[in-house]
């Protein structure tokens, strides 16, 4: 049972006794204690700061409430029924899903490419790292001004560049069919740096020895990437995919920024779930309805996350 040192200390003998009580060994006991003692305070914080308020807000989905008046009417699943028939809600799901698929895909691909290119440490590489991270820390007020200019139909940078290739000016924010693409490009632009840094951490953590060994076996650049980097990057890639998906489904600021003001895009063309929730909650004060919508959003994202975990399962030590 125990790989004991010759003389067990008092501590160790007490642990043995306690562990024996639960039919586990001393090592397992110390592990369990560590787990509970570390997790308890953290979970307590989660409970207070997240679980309790979230539950409280989800509860509201079964009521008709304007948040202000304490007289709430319990209406069971009515809010959810109404949601299923709400054209705007369906539109929001469609837009958000399109946004998530395109946004996550492009953001990860580009960030991965960048991470691979910049993995080798160099002065120039370091500069590029910083520059590509800048959008992540640039405040939205600057982002909004510049991107509204980039997308401007008459004087915008994008149409100007496209005109070099003979492409006619596109109403990026005005054309409802294109507006969503415009927001996707913006969101991808802002998030590349974030994903790039995480993938850089992942790539640089891969020990040299693996590459050296593979090269001795004759592997070249692409082979190294496919058979060493990618597999070892799997847990990180899973992280990036899941987090990007969750963030994509929760997108709000770029949509809000591009639609406010008189030069903004049309609301419905880029209506996303959180935008719809915000409108129902804070413009119309239909809090029960908005909560039901939030519950639906949560369920969709939860489902997607679980699916992604299963797909990435083979590399998990779970």
């Amino acid at each position: 049972m125990d790989v004991l040192k010759p003389q067990a200390s008092i501590q160790e003998r007490w642990s043995d006794a306690l562990a024996h009580r639960f039919h586990i060994n001393r090592f397992q006991l110390s592990k369990l204690l560590f787990v509970y003692l570390s997790l308890l305070p953290i979970l307590a914080l989660f409970a207070f700061l997240r679980l309790v308020p979230i539950t409280s807000s989800f509860q509201l989905s079964f009521f008709q409430s304007n948040l202000i008046n304490p007289a709430n009417k319990f209406i069971g699943l009515d809010n959810f029924q109404e949601l299923l028939q709400d054209k705007l809600f369906i539109l929001a799901i469609r837009n958000t899903t399109l946004f998530a698929i395109a946004g996550v895909l492009f953001s990860i691909l580009i960030a991965l490419g960048l991470a691979v290119l910049l993995a080798k440490r160099s002065r120039l590489g370091g500069l590029y790292e910083t520059i590509y991270f800048l959008p992540v820390i640039t405040p939205w007020v600057a982002v909004s001004v510049i991107w509204k200019w980039i997308y401007d139909p008459s004087y915008g940078l994008l149409n100007y560049i496209l005109s070099w290739f003979g492409i006619k000016p596109i109403g990026w924010l005005i054309d409802p069919n294109i507006a969503l693409i415009a927001v996707i490009i913006l969101a991808v632009w802002k998030s590349i740096g974030y994903n790039m840094i995480i993938l850089l951490v992942g790539i640089r953590d891969i020990p040299e020895v693996y590459y050296e060994a593979a090269q001795l076996d004759g592997a070249n650049g692409w082979g190294l990437f496919r058979y060493i980097t990618l597999p070892l990057l799997r847990p990180i890639l899973l992280f990036v995919a899941i987090v990007s998906t969750i963030n994509a489904y929760n997108v709000f600021t770029p949509v809000y920024i591009m639609t406010t003001g008189s030069q903004g895009a049309q609301g419905n063309a880029v209506r996303t779930l959180v935008f719809d929730i915000y409108e129902n909650a804070f413009r119309y004060f239909k809090w029960g309805y908005a909560s039901a919508e939030a519950v639906s959003l949560f369920l969709i994202v939860l489902l997607l996350t679980i699916i992604q975990f299963r797909l990435g399962r083979s590399s998990e030590s779970v």
């Binding site: 008046n69 008459s154 903004g264 049309q266 609301g267 413009r283």
Partner: protein
């Protein structure tokens, strides 16, 4: 342990810079700011009893020696300097009263009110519009003392519509502070170039003038819009601006029927207003979606005329000080003549520990000299009409369109019912689509159907909220 500190000189210098900046901030923070005027702190020693001021109402709290702290919240950050001016003046006269002013961007402010008023953690004085209706409905805001109603009701002091806006169940709840109103901004140089001597007086004239004012380049693209319409943007703005054309035609977004409501534009007025837009865009071509609109467009010279509130005047002074422009009253429509107004009023919440001091301050703040300063420095229109704004107007003649008065020039407001926002927003979404539909040109049936469909949605929203008149 496993790594050593690197020695990159650039990084060192940059870090030193930040350190210096941070240290500077810390020192400044701890030492208080020499640059900004300090609000005087309430002295703990007994100050001399404050004399009654020229403030119209005398109160007992101001002559007491108890230190009083009043908190004020506003959703208009541009008002902050004005609040500072007025509170500083009040503290000078009543040294035992100090203030804390917080201003927030409007949308976030409304979220804050939604959390703080029901939980009794709001400020003592809040500046807010009829957004407050839902809180009053829930009994969370106390009505104002009778003397306030007396003050508000003085003849010629405030617009009847504004006072009605802060009256719930026969009781008044606030003192009006400022309001937004609409006028026609017009570029005088463009007018002169087009041979026009005066701003249009009817909507038909506006359309004619717009055609003369529209400028095009060699390839026929519009470079200056004769009239800048509000064509897109999220929220209810598009519908709100549509109302500027709808109301003079005799229509309304919703009309009261007893204590319920129903749509008010599935009629000639609604069809006329939509036709106005369609004709402007596709028949006479006086505006182009690709141009900039709103204040920005006007300041950049991309539109010759447009409708907006008075804050643009201050904006133009800052961003386009050489622009040669003025304002005119909203033109006469086929049926009515008037302008929309939306009021911001000062309320006292139920958690205020010294409500009498709060109301005293509010009445102090609406004295003539501060109303003039509001107009002069902030640009929103002070609600008080019984003040001589002559000196301000002399220096800023562009306010002409806003201070215009005529017995036949009416002021109208949008209803303060909770569901109105939803009605307007959904209408805005539809309108944005309709404006892009060129097939509506010279298509009275198409227009009639579009308006009817939109009105049906308005009614269904009212129905769902239980306020539809059947």
């Amino acid at each position: 342990m496993l790594y050593q500190m690197s020695r990159n000189t650039f990084l060192q210098r940059f870090a030193l810079l930040i350190l210096a900046l941070g240290l500077g901030m810390v020192i400044l923070a701890c030492a208080g700011q020499p640059l900004a005027p300090q609000a005087p702190t309430a002295p703990t020693a007994q100050p001399p009893a404050a004399q009654a001021t020229s403030a119209p109402a005398a109160t007992s709290a101001t002559s007491s020696n108890q230190p009083v702290k009043l908190t004020i919240w506003s959703g208009y950050p541009e008002m902050e300097p004005w609040y500072k001016e007025v509170t500083d003046a009040y503290t000078k006269e009543h040294p035992n009263v100090t203030f804390e002013i917080l201003t927030f961007p409007l949308r976030d402010y409304e979220q804050k009110l939604s959390a703080t008023i029901p939980s009794d953690t709001a400020a003592d004085i809040i500046e807010v519009s009829s957004f407050v209706a839902k809180f009053v409905d829930a009994g969370l805001i106390p009505p104002a003392p009778d003397k306030i109603a007396e003050w508000n009701n003085a003849p010629g002091r405030y617009d009847a519509a504004i006072v009605k806006d802060l009256t719930y169940n026969g009781k008044q709840y606030a003192v009006p502070l400022f309001y937004g109103s609409t006028a026609l901004y017009y570029n005088k140089k463009d007018f002169a170039d087009a041979g026009l001597t005066k701003p249009p007086e009817t909507f038909d004239e506006l359309m004619d003038d717009a055609q003369k004012l529209t400028q095009r380049d060699a390839s026929g693209n519009i470079t200056v819009a004769g009239h800048g319409f509000r064509l897109f943007g999220a929220g209810s703005g598009v519908a709100e601006k549509f109302l500027f054309y709808l109301w003079p035609a005799g229509g309304d977004i919703i009309v009261p029927v007893g204590d319920k409501w129903k749509e008010g534009y599935n009629n000639d007025a609604g069809r006329w207003a939509l036709k106005y837009y369609i004709d402007a865009l596709y028949k006479y071509k006086v505006d182009d979606p690709k141009l900039k609109r709103d204040a920005e467009g006007f300041e950049l010279g991309q539109s010759a005329t447009f409708f907006r509130e008075s804050w643009v005047i201050g904006d133009i002074k800052k961003n386009a000080p050489t622009l040669d422009y003025s304002t005119a009253p909203v033109p006469k429509g086929p049926k009515r003549w008037g302008h929309i107004i939306a009021g911001e009023d000062l309320f006292v919440t139920r958690t205020a520990k010294n409500p009498d001091v709060a109301w005293d301050f509010i009445l102090f703040a609406v004295q003539p000299q501060y109303m003039q300063d509001l107009l002069r420095n902030v640009g929103w229109l002070p609600s008080r009409h019984d003040v001589d704004y002559g000196p301000v107007l002399k220096d800023n003649p562009q306010f002409a369109g806003f201070v215009f008065s005529d017995p036949n020039y009416q002021a109208y407001m949008t209803p303060a019912i909770p569901v109105f926002d939803e009605v307007e927003t959904k209408m805005a979404e539809r309108l944005i689509q309709l404006y892009t539909d060129a097939s509506l040109l010279d298509n009275p049936d198409g227009i009639a159907k579009a308006v009817a469909d939109m009105a049906a949605e308005t009614n269904s929203i009212l129905d769902k909220a239980g306020v539809l008149a059947k």
